[in-house]
């Protein structure tokens, strides 16, 4: 089975996602990058599920998608409130917790 290809694809997506989360300044793009990370994980789950002929992998992937939907809901709400308060969604400016 072509497991390696799936893993490589997932690793690539994951790295792109991490890169986006770490360097993009727009909160929207950070959220989208998080989605990439989650989907990279999903690919891994499905791939391993197919390899071991276990439906559990697919079930977990579906579960992740559902949770991701909820996460996006909350994330968008945070972004929206941030925009309302600051007229900006630049994460670099959000540093109230600075010690």
């Amino acid at each position: 089975m072509l497991l390696n290809q799936f893993l490589l694809l997932a690793a690539g997506l994951f790295c792109i996602g991490v890169y986006g989360v770490l360097v993009r300044r727009s909160a929207m793009l950070v959220l989208m990058s998080i989605e990439l990370i989650l989907n990279a994980v999903n690919i891994n789950l499905v791939a391993f599920g197919a390899l071991t002929d276990d439906v559990g992998g697919s079930v977990f992937a579906l579960f992740t998608i559902a949770v991701a939907a909820a996460e996006v809901g909350i994330g968008l709400a945070i972004v929206l409130l941030m925009y309302r308060n600051r007229r900006s969604i630049d994460l670099a400016q959000v540093d109230l917790l600075k010690g």
């Binding site: 770490l22 670099a92 959000v94 540093d95 600075k98 010690g99």
Partner: protein, 802 residues
Amino acid sequence: MLSVLAAGSVSKVSTVTHDANWFLEHAWIIPLLPAISFVVILFFGKRMPKKGAEIGITAVAISFLLALATGWSWIDHRDHVEFDAGGDESEVVDDHGDYLAPDELGNDEHAVVVDDGHSNVNDSVRLAVAAAEAGGEAEGSHPYVAVQTSTQWLQSGGVEFSAGILVDGLSVMMLLVVTLISLLVHVYSTDYVGGDRRYTHFFAFLSLFTASMLFFVLSDNILQMIVGWELVGVCSFALIGHWWEEKPNSDAALKAFLTNRVGDVGLLVGMITLFFAAGGGTTFDTITINEQIVQGQVGHTALVVAAAALTAAVMSKSGQFILHTWLPDAMAGPTPVSALIHAATMVVAGIFMVARLYPVFFEGMSIGGSSINLLSTVGAVTLVGAGLLAFVQDDIKKVLAYSTVSQLGYMAMALGVGAWTAAVFHLFTHAFFKANLFLGSGSVAHAVHSFDMKKDMGGMKKYMPRTFWTFVIGSVALAGLPPLAGFWSKDEILVGTGGWGLFGGTGGNGAYTFHLVMGMIGAALTAAYMTRCIYLTFFGRWRGGHAHDEHAHDDHAHDDHAHHGEPHESGPRILIPLYVLSGFSLVIGLVNLPPGLFSGSSKDPAGWQERFLHYIEPAGSSYFPAVAHGTPSWSLALISTGIALLGIGLAFRYYFIRVDRLSRVTGQSLTSLPNGLTTTNRLARAGHTLLVNKYYLDHLYTGIIAGFTKGPLARAAYWVNQNVLDRTVNLAGETAVRTGKVVYTKIDQGVVDGFVNRAGRASDATGQELRKINSGRVQNYATLLFAAAAILAGAFIILFAL
């Protein structure tokens, strides 16, 4: 007729089962209700429309109804067990064991402990069953069965601490007396202390007192008795000092409390002795302790110690000579309190305790077959000593207070001579007529705002005819004229002394001739001082009407009443309790008519004779000693009545004839003859002075005992303190200071503080560095997170791959 219930021929069966009438098993609700009422009044009383009085009255009224039901159940229970062996009682009993089978009752002792699945909650009803005496044909299968419901509270080192109730005739009788009188006093108080600044507080403590007394009389173990005993003491303290703003009142409260502490030492010593000697060091259970003593398992010396120590407790709580001094002073409390606590209920706690633990006294003092012992002598001396003191009192409540002391002396004496039923019966009747008299005196005082008979009373018959008649009924009952209540109980006591062999009486536990004579003297004194009291209060002309604010203990709340003007009759809330109580004073003596007075057998269940004895006295039960009953005789009854009439006659001649005539002649309302015996006869004057000074007992206590403690003893203690104790303490202190200095400079400053400072600086520097990481930017955090995760993942791979 001599009926001796000999213990030796009685077979005793103590057993445990779960069946009794609901009211007998749940009698603990009766004290619980006033206890709840106390808490509710304390927290919510002031917000209620009647300031909390309605809560107390409701609780006590329900308790009274429950007590009535319990009394009814008890009568049923007693007769049921006695006359109907095939009823429900023995059916249930048969399910558990066969111990009630009549043919087995005459055999040997055996105890059956029934485990019927409820034992895990340790809730058991004990039926202390005693078979009837052998050969007693009338009582062939009529055991006296006490009902005990108890729960184990805790168990420690083999000692069982249980909480429970013991319901038998004695406690049922006390339940009825306490709840009824408490209810009447509650009703009376709504008028009497109405408008008082601590009205709510007053009712809260009335409730607590009622609860404590009920708790005390229901106790099934001596530990609980001690708790109840102290609780009533505390309530007494609080209520005597109800108007504590005035120094004499708070002094009286303290005196009552401290005098009772003296006796409480005796109580503790006695109870501890009983616990180890009769309870085997494992149980406080009253029935077990009594049974052990009845069966002769306990050494005589221990019983002598216990009985003597407990007598000291009785002396303080029940106002026996020489510790009685607190009781007259306790009249500083509001009159309803005097009626409830210091006449009808609390002061009989000592008597009740003796009655409950009667085997201790009966065996310990060898009451049977003797002719003198500590308890009976204390009682006899109290009875006459206090009766004499009542003659020199000007305060109407103090007359009644000494009368109470004297009547308690009767009860203690009766217990001391073995006349158990007579003592308990006198307790019963006395509660009614003494409460009647106290409430009557309060009614008069309410009208004239004073308790001083000589200054502020006189001629009250004209103003308060209803109070007058109830007071007269109470007085006649107290004086012991037939057929009122006091006659029957007093006469029984005199019969019980057994010192009456000369005049046709028989029986009794010994020849207590001295006590019979003292009882006779007491009867004459009682009749005479009550006559004096009635004359001074109700006859002659009213001597009040001038300013008497300095005497007015009780009228703080009645500023709206006119302080001048003629006194007037009290309202219905005061009069109705008086009517009820005087009604009882008239007829209550008839519940224990002596046998042979009318035709019929004394044991006849349908008859009227010795009903009280039948239902109350646990004769033949496993926890009661074999007391003998004297047989009443007509001659004794006639002579004691004659002596009471003689007392009345002498006092009547002095006050109603001579003083009254002189008053008319001089036009004044006199209270004594100007040329009486005390002014003409030296001996009489000396006696009078002795009485006015109350036998100098207060001088002994405050002047000599307290004075010695304050004077030489205190100085000696001071010297020891200064020269021995203080020197040691100073030396120790100086050494400690020197050591402390060394420790401070070397260890504390150098080592401990240095370490702490360095630790502080280190964490400060670390923090300064670390705060740079805390940029507040979420992406920096995420970077750290991912970096850490990557490092951990790398470490993980290296660790497991290699």
